[in-house]
Amino acid sequence: MIEQLRETIAQAVPGVTLEIIQSTPAAQQPALLVDRDHAFATAKFLKENQQLDFCSCVTGVDYPKLGQIEVVYHLYSVAKKTGPVVLKVRAPRELEQCRVPSLTPLWRGCEFQEREAYDLFGVKFDGHPDLRRILMWDEFTDHPMRKDYVPPKDYEWEPTPHDDTLTRAVEVAGIIPPSAREELEKAKKK
């Protein structure tokens, strides 16, 4: 079905690059990866010709190894009672180039969710009517959901009764308490 949709889009939007991303078996929701330049045209086609009239979710995913940030849109059709069609757009991780077209002009409900993605992932949405931070304060400069975000060091590490579990977590999963992170890095260098 997604292949069919892909064909339809490819015919309707000239020059578009589409890729089907198979997701994990649990979700069973293959997604359509669209190139940035044709994302808006594709979305417009989906809205107008495929009756995907409702955008339920906009979020971001950080892929530090790919050097990319992905914005994911979940589109539903209330008219046809189908969905979701998962639309993905990727942009480079660098803050300056991390730009994707905003789909707020098509689905009004994207406005706050795109603001959230901007706030937490640092994705700039071109064409967004009011791109401000929504969760963190305006003076905040970081994007906390990025994998390389370092939270402020205001956490008190105290020995607790479940230290054995934590020790195992350090050994098995490599989970390190925030306050001990620096120290461990120093020890590694030595």
């Binding site: 969760l135 963190m136 304060w137 305006d138 003076e139 905040f140 400069t141 970081d142 906390p144 975000y149 939270p151 402020p152 205001d154 956490y155 008190e156 590490w157 105290e158 020995p159 230290d163 054995d164 934590l166 020790t167 350090v170 390190i176 308490p177 925030p178 306050s179 001990a180 120290e183 461990l184 020890a187």
Partner: protein
């Protein structure tokens, strides 16, 4: 306070009550606590339950929840205090008239609770305002809040007039500094006059933790 217990008891039999003015004054104060009406998260639901008919906070004279800080003398910090919300909490506290008290209700308000390692959550409201009673629990049951009110009442009953209280000192300020929104965190991240980090905090090493 020097007064004759025997005489007091004798007089009481004939219907005359003798007690220090301080006691009378504090008796009035402690049985008429007006909390500030605001809740930040799920603890607020327990606070509402405490004030409603089943748990009936009115039995302890603390049922008049005021919607303005100018008329309140108890702040119940019920819920997670995010860093974005904190300046408003401190501002409300500053606007309350003295004498004023704070109850930090629930794990979040006392320490950050389950959100302790979140970048956006304040790790305990006592970093910025002086807390009189801490209630653990997630969320604490209404009984726990009532117990906290009773604890606060005991504290009020034990306070002396005009001497050792913060708000009677001439130099005392009722203004607690409101932190500013910084680029990465609140500035300052804690009010050091109110709160000091635990003494051993910086001493705990990962080696120590791993050894245990």
């Amino acid at each position: 306070m020097a007064y004759d217990e025997g005489l007091k008891s004798e007089l009481q039999k004939s219907g005359i009550f003798v007690l220090p003015f301080e006691q009378l004054y504090n008796w009035g104060r402690k049985n008429s606590i007006w909390p500030l009406q605001f809740g930040l998260a799920c603890c607020a639901i327990e606070m509402i339950a405490s004030a409603a008919s089943r748990y009936d906070l009115a039995r302890f004279g603390a049922e008049v929840f005021r919607a303005t800080p100018r008329q309140a003398d108890l702040m119940i910090v019920a819920g997670t205090v995010t860093k974005k919300m904190l300046p408003q909490v401190v501002r409300l506290f500053n606007q309350m008239p003295e004498p004023k008290y704070v109850i930090a209700m629930g794990a979040c308000a006392i320490s950050g609770g389950p959100f302790k390692d979140g970048y956006n959550v304040l790790k305990g409201v006592d970093r910025f305002i002086p807390v009189d009673v801490h209630i653990p629990g997630c969320p604490p049951r209404p009984e726990a809040l009532i117990h906290a009110i009773m604890t606060l009442q005991r504290k009020i009953a034990g306070q002396t007039l005009g001497q050792d209280q913060r708000w009677y000192e001439k130099s005392a300020t009722t203004e607690f500094p409101i932190p500013a929104f910084g680029a990465h965190d609140l500035e300052p991240p804690a009010n050091r006059e109110v709160w000091q980090p635990p003494r051993n905090y910086t001493d705990v090493t990962i080696a120590e933790v791993l050894k245990k």
